[in-house]
């Protein structure tokens, strides 16, 4: 029996929510963009009309304005987007409890064995599409398939407000002619690499020899071959599972360029605190700390380090991040943005005893931080802060708790 898997994608999500709330701008080109004053001036999403003008996600506001001078810019309203994301998930939950969110606006649903899914999920997909429209005033595109990878391709294939079925008979007609970069996890770097070997379409990837792909890309080469052929059997993680979580990170583009170690220390402390709090909330300890640095000329570096034992203590995370920074950054250019990521989670964590009571210290530190978590939950993020962060509140006065990113799957680092 084939599985029945849906991938539902809320179209132009942020922009659609803004257009829902403001009928006056619905017929105009609209983009949701960060605050240019705080130097977050990039396009986060755009509506279909703005798309026609060539406005692209990720470009600077001035670039978008050049293409579309009448572009209506709206500031993001994350609380509202979260609410709509949850409302959409509530609708999905009325069909199945096997739901795996992928970012704020996408979800996989496993309908195998659910009532009314005998037709491969088409009827439910249409029901979801209609309900999202009438109940939430938004549109989704839904891909219907027997594996997660093709379901995702299906939701990208036709949008907005559409359903695309990719069953086994459609594999060669719909999936294989598509350019290889349309496949999940094929980023710009791997696309270039694949093209060097004459692989331009998903079909060509599917028909390549898996051993050959493994030789070029390592383990992930075979994985991509599995994806391209529709052999992927990765399960859709249930709504309440935490197992698929592989890393927690947070990053920020600072309000002004950073020019000294002290400023970097402030930002890394702030980011580490929010990552650590999120880890405690999820009950995980991680042992690999990574720091990413982007300089004012937009060059990025990322460095990581493995700890001797897993942690969720913010001072350990920020200390390691700062150490990595000092070892690897020579201050040739000021810094535009910084990120902290913790991975390698150990879910059955048992603290090892050691001779020098370091373990005991860490445990105490963790207890203190949990108390801080509790206070912040009740009285707000700024109710208790490190004194070192009060020195420069313009720089460190961000509410980082809403910006944490949880990466739902292991990602292949060479894609980034």
């Amino acid at each position: 029996m084939d599985r029945v898997i849906l991938h539902s994608d809320l179209n132009s999500f942020y922009a659609s929510v803004e257009c829902l709330y403001n009928p006056k701008i619905r017929q105009l080109p609209v983009a949701v963009a960060g605050d240019p004053q705080a130097r977050h001036g990039i396009i986060l999403t755009k509506n279909q009309i703005a798309k026609k003008y060539g406005v692209k996600t990720g470009e600077a506001i001035w670039q978008a304005k050049q293409k579309c001078p009448q572009l209506v810019l709206v500031k993001p309203n994350y609380q509202r987007y979260l609410r709509y994301s949850h409302l959409a998930q509530e609708i999905y939950r009325s069909y199945t409890d096997r739901i795996e969110p992928f970012g704020i606006d996408e979800c996989w649903l496993d309908l195998s064995g659910c009532p009314n899914s005998e037709d491969g999920g088409l009827r439910i997909a249409h029901a979801i599409r209609r309900r999202i429209k009438t109940e939430l005033g938004l549109t989704v595109s839904v891909g219907v398939s027997y594996n997660k990878i093709f379901a995702k391709l299906g939701s990208d294939y036709r949008k907005p407000d559409a359903v695309t079925l990719i069953g086994k008979p459609q594999r060669e007609s719909i999936v294989w002619p598509q350019p290889v970069e349309n496949l999940l996890y094929v980023g710009p770097a791997s696309k270039r690499k694949l093209q060097r070997y004459g692989i331009f379409t998903i079909g060509q990837l599917a028909q390549a020899k898996p051993d050959f792909l493994e030789e070029i890309f390592g383990k992930t080469g075979r994985q991509l071959w599995i994806f391209a052929n529709g052999y992927d059997v990765t399960p859709v993680a249930s709504a309440d599972t935490k197992l698929s979580m592989k890393s927690i990170s947070n990053s920020t583009t600072t309000v002004r360029n950073l020019t000294c170690d002290e400023e970097v220390h402030g930002i890394l402390t702030m980011l580490s605190e929010s990552v650590a709090a999120r880890m405690r909330e999820q009950g995980v300890h991680g042992s690999t700390i990574a720091v990413s640095i982007r300089s004012s000329d937009l060059q990025s570096v990322e460095r990581q380090k493995k700890l001797l034992s897993p942690t969720c203590v913010s001072s350990v995370i920020s200390g390691t991040a700062m150490e990595l920074f000092r070892e690897n950054y020579r201050w040739e250019k000021p810094i535009r943005s910084l990120g902290v990521r913790v991975s390698d989670f150990d879910e059955d964590f048992v603290r090892q005893m050691d001779l020098f009571q370091k373990a005991q210290q860490q445990e105490n530190q963790e207890k203190i931080e949990r108390v801080v978590d509790g206070l912040r939950k009740r009285f707000g993020v700024f109710s208790i802060q490190r004194a070192s962060l009060l020195k420069d509140q313009q720089l460190t006065g961000l509410d980082t708790s809403i910006q944490n990113q949880i990466h739902p799957m292991g990602f292949f680092s060479w894609n980034y």
């Binding site: 829902l20 709330y21 009928p23 409302l87 109940e135 939430l136 938004l138």
Partner: protein, 79 residues
């Protein structure tokens, strides 16, 4: 247009909410004779979404929306 309004409502023992009276911000008060229907719906006209109550007021059917913890009606045509 979206017009937020004050509402007098009754919560029953199961937590079900029944709006009884709409208080317009110019002071007018409208008694709700009956709640005919309740569904989760988007209001494209007003901009937003919530639980849409179809209510009968003075013999006419009207929509009243509960969005999170605020009530609104759609205005712009007759009202």
């Amino acid at each position: 247009m979206k017009q937020y309004v004050a509402v007098v409502a009754r919560y029953d023992e199961n937590g079900r909410i029944e709006p009884r009276q709409i208080q317009w911000n110019d002071g007018r008060v409208f008694e709700i004779d009956r709640v005919i229907d309740r569904k989760r719906r988007a209001s494209m006209k007003a901009g937003g979404s919530g639980i849409r109550y179809t209510v009968r007021i003075l013999g006419k059917e009207r929509y009243l929306y509960l969005e999170e913890n605020r009530w609104f009606v759609e205005t712009g045509e007759e009202s």
